[in-house]
Subunit: 324 residues, 2 copies
């Protein structure tokens, strides 16, 4: 999951987070086209599905087919969401490379989302880790902290709770802790404070970020997270992904704009932004009524744009030190 030619790992989550709230079923062939086209544009990690009961979320009834197709794409890190042990077991059987597990720092949200106490969520995750460790070629296990930067039910979330549940997942055996701003409450000051505190508390376990752009602060929050040392970000093409709590709100941060931000800062993502922008056409074909967002798609790349990897001076490492 690490690559010496890449400074920041970006993970496409549109196929999961972008589609999960849609009423429309996105055809399996469309999902596979999308995944392949993004891989061809340089995307190396894609969250391809969610391993939830199809009765609950019919959008992911084709999880097995999609993961099998993903296995045909050599070099792709296949990511899937697993809300519980049952989902994780399916992920193991399907040979998923990276499993995202989620606990809501907000108790109310955890009860509504997975119908259990946070302590039970941690215990379940510990069992998942144990089951994974018993296998050969075990997947990378991500312990996600959702509603970590604000909750639609509880409002502000205490920092000590974020740290506490981050440490609980790390101690249970997470390979990575992901902090998620589930409904776009974060600001750069809160991001700096929260990521620093969690990084200090979980020691060597890498901390990644999942931001939403609900109120336009998504990329500003990325800049703040970069300063704390975060080098893994989730995003979705065209910002696909609504939010059931905030009508009219956009979803994830826009992948094309995220890549443009990073590459402009001299941080290599491995992604060819022009090719990436063209992948939006696949989404638009299947979801003609769904708005897609993004500045790069609207305005094109600027004349002076040079991908980070093509620059003469290797500036990607030193660029950030001034702000750290």
């Amino acid at each position: 999951m690490d690559n010496k030619d890449i400074d920041v790992v970006v993970t496409e989550v549109g196929l999961r987070d972008g589609l999960q709230s849609l009423e429309t079923f996105f055809p399996t062939e469309g999902k596979i086209d999308w995944m392949r086209a993004e891989f061809a544009a340089g995307m190396r990690e894609i969250e391809v599905t969610s391993l939830v009961p199809p009765k609950l979320v019919p959008q992911f009834v084709d999880a097995q087919q999609v993961v099998e197709a993903a296995h045909q794409v050599e070099g792709l890190t296949i990511v899937a969401l697993a809300p519980n042990m049952k989902g994780a077991e399916r992920a193991f059987e399907l040979g998923v490379h990276k499993v995202n597990y989620v606990l809501s720092v907000s108790r109310t949200h955890n009860l509504k989302n997975v119908r259990r106490e946070r302590e039970e969520s941690v215990a379940d995750f510990a069992r998942i880790v144990e089951a994974a460790r018993a296998r050969e070629n075990r997947p990378w296990l991500v312990g996600g902290l959702s509603s970590a930067l604000g909750c639609s039910y509880e409002g502000a979330v205490p920092l000590e709770d974020v740290v506490r549940w981050g440490v609980a997942l790390a101690e249970a055996g997470a390979d990575e802790i992901m902090i998620a701003d589930t409904v776009g409450h974060a600001d750069p000051t809160l991001v700096r404070r929260t990521f620093k505190a969690v990084q200090e508390a979980v020691g060597p376990v890498p901390v990644s970020a999942h931001f939403h752009d609900t109120r336009g602060l998504g990329l500003a929050n990325v800049v703040a997270a970069l300063e704390t040392g975060v080098r893994r970000f989730e995003a979705s093409l065209g910002g696909l992904g609504g939010c059931q709590f905030a009508p009219g709100a956009t979803g994830n941060i826009v992948m094309e704009d995220l890549c443009f931000l990073l590459e402009s800062m001299g941080l290599r993502t491995g992604v060819d932004i022009e090719r990436l922008v063209h992948v939006r056409e696949i989404i638009a074909r299947h979801l003609p009524a769904t708005p897609l967002y993004g500045g790069v798609a609207r305005a094109g790349l600027p004349r002076q744009y040079v991908p980070a990897a093509a620059r003469g001076i290797v500036q990607h490492a030193s660029n950030l030190s001034t702000a750290a």
Copy 2:
């Protein structure tokens, strides 16, 4: 122009930068309504017009009426753009409080924009300063550096040129240097590097920022500029303002989202965001076909939102020190 209850000064430029490329004449009464409504929402600085020949830009044929109406709004800092001595003299006669003068760091852009060499622009500015100093109650004079972070004609702009022309304007007597990303080329790394270099070169003269959100990086650039100590930003309501060089490109950064960013970070702007969002209705009424942008207007304020001024702990100063 300073206020102890405000940490960051935001200046509305929609009435000038937002309207200047529009074919449609925005009615004078509408401009006055807009200005008054924004003042009522807490906006204390508004660039109300551009003092250019009406033949060149018919949008500003009503400059005198608009400035006179602005003088009826007690407490408002009236800002106007003056492209040359003639415009500056009109600004002085009209009693404008703050005059924005612009030099393009890119030679090509300066030649196209004001039809003269950069040296001539500096000499003209020096004469404006002299004329201003000869008056009682002279206005605050801003030396703007446009195309300072990239140019549609020349591509990347050398840092030494930005510093050189910034110093030239400061030595000519500018009260403030404004660095403008005229067509949205900047990224946070470039912003940090450029603002730091100019700040060091111009000494005590404050450096302010004017960003465009062409490719989604506007607020990310604000975060970078804040880190270098910038405390004055221009923006426009709803991101109004197209760009003749990039069809489909948005204009300035969105004022509502900028205020939300700053207030969320604990930095007081003096602006009531909910009231500010309602002012968009005035623009929409007069420009029904013009798209307005912005996350806060789309999603509303989050449940946990507390304006910076209403917080128990005074955190606005300390918040930024961690990143500086």
